[in-house]
Homo-oligomer: 428 residues x 2
């Protein structure tokens, strides 16, 4: 039936339908994933549009869009698969846990998370197990943000933060992170933070260590965030996904321990990165009981629960073999240092040494082609996949993110190719 | 700081904060999970309020709120754990698939789902792998429904359907299913369906076989649903989770095969029930490419992807050992028949024989205590867990749902205890 025919038969309906579709189309237009990490396979043929210079640079392909969890790089924590298999053999009780996660598991986790973050966690009231930290973020935002609200978001920060807020029909109040301008603190613009809090923001969402820059918020910055959140009644969701991978000499401050008033704080963590357990889809959120309650209600309709058998894997979290985290950290630090040496030698490139996690976020010198075209050229000519900075901030049109949790040798060679590609395409 | 003090310091802010909280509180007030299947552990102590009659009825505890996936009842498909372990050993590519699921897996699944449903499926454009069928439902509703829309929902139907619609700020247009009034068709009120379609509903969501009643929509009902959806431009999401577990003599019609116009149809399935793979959190949705695209965008911010290693398990779906589904179906049919015999002998109880799936939905005779109190009494006195009918329809205040995918002997004895409990509490 043609639109015209429908219009005759049901006056008004077609118009209604078009309005509705345009509303939901608008909603999804903001949710682009084409340039998100892991989706690069979608661009297989599209580099033909880019005018490329020079010959391909041979080498082992490296996908810096996420960490390499193969055993040739950084495989999962020892004993993980065994925990999973034991979970499967426990059968029904492991498959069908409470929506917020198995009770015994939550008891184990609450104790470990309390010790790690320096403040008690109630396993009954303050903790939920989620499908990945991505799941935890979605649930936490969904639990605090309604349509029409305003949410403070750091620029740059994790790419999904903005999309989560927009999907819920809320508005973003950006706060600058001048990570290149400081070495003694992350560089959050605290005056701007107060301004946006004052202007009626209800929720503040940020990652610490920051993704994509790898910088750690200083004790003073965290104290000030806590103070302002209390003063203005703002809920704070802090993504601490990388807080176990701290390089030597670094101090980390958990917001939940530093804050006097924790009744609107939710902390998010997970074993997907440092521990390389991303394939099991596990995360946790802990904090304000009324927010955890809402998150469970939302989880019940979004995915019911974190995968039951996978939950068994979390039993071993924070119980890695002695020295395992220290060794893994040292390995990452060695890769970081080698890659920093290469990037520091690229004229016109600006970069800050990451203090935690496994991301580098270099700001490139002026290039003769736009960022997305350069990212494609890296993939096509240099077998290197990176994530464009614009995923993390609309301003970051000259930056790329690399997850350097990779095979050491391959990563070094790949970054050498990036340096050659920058030389090839730079304007001067 | 007290609310009053805050009000002085930041005039207007506190009032804003209260309004915002009340909006989101309202949103979550509708999302109750206390009586949802699997959450009964929350009611451990609350039966003290119920005046109980008589002595406890001893027996093996049975939790009819979900299927029993232990090997003493209905364990996972043979070979499942082996597929998972192989997936873990594939490493990175299995952990980090595209958001819509690994490409090779989608190729395998598309072929099998096309053969099963009788219409081609494009693995590239028309299929997404999700965290359980619950995840698929959320994504499908999220892809079609915006705040202010109206969504047609069957009563009774799967308990989360209503909650999903309400969470997105949409309104429910209920459509009656007179399942007790028919044996030759499900009993959908097709005139009412046309009325609500005509009134401007944008999406229709229903399960076939129906959860909780186990009835199958007839070919004529499906044809009429397809016809009305086309006529009024309504998107249709059909949850076919139980469509592989059909009892002897039953005919099943896939909407996507029956419809002339499929550009707004999404079909949902998964291996959580018949195949007992719920602990792996896997589901699929297939259909209209523009809706699958939106679902992937939404998945990217909700949970990134279905658990990577779990996805490997889906390789074996629809490739069960010869005769395995037939045997599993026969075992369920035998349990169904024994439980039906017991229920048919309870005076005043009304029940329809389920044609597919593993649910019974008896309407109980008048009892001397409210439904939720009786459900608690069953748990406390008879060691039997059932789900109150009000989870599936606000009208179903006299019905209970049982998932009879249980150990055969234990299920029969548990339903005998239910019959005794009905006799104990009935009014006359």
């Amino acid at each position: 039936m043609s639109p015209a025919a429908r219009n005759v038969v049901h006056p008004g309906h077609w118009a209604y339908d078009r309005d509705r579709m345009s509303l939901i189309e608008q909603k999804f237009a903001k949710l682009g994933t084409d340039h998100a990490p892991g989706q690069e396979v979608r661009h297989a043929g599209d580099a033909a549009d880019t005018p490329l210079r020079g010959e391909p640079l041979p080498g082992v392909p490296v996908d810096f869009s996420h960490g390499d969890v193969n055993e040739t790089a950084f495989g999962p924590t020892p004993g993980t698969l065994e925990e999973f298999v034991e979970g499967v053999h426990r059968g029904g009780p492991q498959a069908y846990t409470e929506y917020r996660g198995g009770a015994e598991l939550r008891d184990r986790l609450a104790e470990k998370l309390a010790a790690f973050t320096g403040r008690p966690v109630s396993s009954q009231r303050e903790l939920i197990v989620t499908p990945g930290t991505q799941g935890a973020l979605f649930l936490a935002i969904g639990a605090t943000v309604a349509a029409g609200d305003r949410v403070a978001i750091v620029r740059p920060d994790y790419f999904a933060n903005r999309k989560l807020v927009e999907f819920l029909g809320a508005e973003i109040a950006p706060v600058r992170l001048d990570y290149l301008g400081h070495t003694d603190r992350a560089g959050l613009d605290l005056d701007q933070l107060e301004d946006v809090f004052k202007s009626g923001v209800g929720t503040f969402l940020f990652s610490n260590p920051n993704n994509p820059t790898g910088v750690i918020y200083s004790p003073a910055e965290i104290a000030r965030i806590a103070e302002l959140a209390t003063k203005y009644g703002v809920a704070v969701i802090v993504d601490e996904l990388y807080s176990r991978l701290l390089y030597s000499g670094q101090t980390y401050t958990h917001l939940r321990a530093a804050a006097v008033d924790t009744d609107k704080i939710v902390t998010i963590m997970g074993p997907s990165k440092t521990e390389s357990l991303s394939g099991y889809r596990l995360g946790v959120a802990f904090g304000a009981p009324h927010l955890i309650d809402r998150m469970e209600k939302l989880q019940a309709i979004v995915s019911l629960r974190a995968p039951g058998y996978s939950q068994a894997v979390l039993r071993g979290w924070f119980e890695e073999p002695r020295g395992w985290i220290a060794e893994r950290t040292a390995q990452h630090q060695a890769i970081r240092d080698d890659l920093m040496t290469i990037f520091r030698n690229v004229p016109g490139l600006a970069i800050r040494t990451p203090e935690a996690g496994s991301y580098l976020f270099p700001r490139l010198p002026a290039l003769s082609l736009p960022l997305h075209a350069f990212v494609r050229a890296l993939r096509v000519q240099a077998a290197v996949t990176v994530t464009p900075g614009t995923e993390f901030s609309p301003d970051a049109t000259d930056s790329i993110r690399l997850n350097f949790s990779q095979n050491h040798t391959a990563a070094v060679q790949a970054v050498e190719r990036i340096a050659q590609m920058i030389a090839r395409y730079r304007t001067e």
